[in-house]
Symmetry: C2
Subunit: 177 residues, 2 copies
DNA sequence: ATACGTGCAAAGTATTTGCCGTTAT
DNA sequence: ATAACGGCAAATACTTTGCACGTAT
């Protein structure tokens, strides 16, 4: 239903493709988390970790594969699938479903925020707000549950009038491309 | 990840299989909506509409197919897929994703409610609350959007202590078998 | 050394679709 | 009459996996 705009090569600053282990991709925050979780750091994994660390949007596997391949062409989709799965299990990544059939990923450390999907453009806008968690925790409690995680997504139309240019009160926002 | 418990035959009160057009499946609320939307009422469609009207849980296509087949065996999965898709486009059904790979459906008129998924049992508990909409509408507005729809799902563990037996304040709840 | 990682192609799932005979309106 | 519909099997789309080889620790 809602499909996000594809933003190929957005994060790919590297011009030529470099061999794995190259300085550009060393020691990304996510690579560090991999090591901490006892994962072996192969060339492919380092590149994927780097791509994930650089991403500030919500790429799907195909997109991650594209970005990773641009850095080191000897990476297969299968490896990307295996890696995101692994990182999700380790709690390093979070899988999202914004509709459109494919899973999309973002780093777990990307802070507590929610997503607002512009139904017209498919764009994903992130925002922060503490109220929802509070409210939902309370609701879960009333139902006799201990909230372990939750999902909140808003779908809306951009209001043409009052287009907000400056940061909104209580909300830091950041949109995909 | 979270997979709902399969509840086959739960809604299947009919003992033997009846031919399409049988009285049991005539004039279900959803069948009526189909007519209002200018859809042709074939035997299969009537049965599927009936099954959907009776369901008070969130069946996936396979489950719908099972229930519908029990009433009239000459229905194929393809038809179920085509029907739910059509009904979703008409706004009669809503598609849900509770994890586990398959889409699940519920009638749009089933009232405003949310879902809490018991991560241990996979059970889905419905609850009502006005707060979330208010809060989210407000948030969307701050971001310069007009909220057209939203998604809220809670995932939690049942609190063993204080197991609530009676209806909870401000919440009508109803769980998938 | 050896358990873990990877590429490749084949296998799975869930869902859609082409073809063509059937049916509601 | 005729546009929709439905069955079937083949086709898609996304994701997982078996196998044989490579590599980080």
């Amino acid at each position: 239903m809602v499909v996000d705009t594809k933003v190929a090569d957005r994060r790919t600053r590297t011009q030529g493709r470099k061999p794995a282990g190259s300085a550009v991709v060393d020691d990304s925050p996510i690579a560090r988390l991999c090591v901490e979780n006892g994962l072996k750091m192969t060339g492919q994994r380092r590149v994927i970790a780097h791509v994930l660390s650089e991403a500030d949007d919500h790429p799907d596997v195909e997109e991650l594969y594209r970005r990773a391949s641009a850095i080191d062409s000897r990476i297969s989709v299968a490896t990307v699938y295996r890696t995101v799965r692994l990182l999700e299990e380790k709690g390093i990544l979070e899988r999202r479903d914004f509709g459109g059939g494919r899973a999309r990923y973002e780093a777990s450390d990307s802070g507590h925020h929610y997503h607002l999907i512009d139904v017209d453009s498919g764009r994903v806008i992130e925002f922060e707000d503490d109220e929802p968690v509070r409210l939902l925790t309370q609701i879960a409690q009333r139902l006799g549950f201990d909230l372990v995680s939750h999902r909140i997504e808003l779908f809306g139309h951009r209001l043409e009038k009052e287009t907000p240019k400056r940061p909104l009160p209580k909300s830091r926002n950041k949109s995909d491309t």
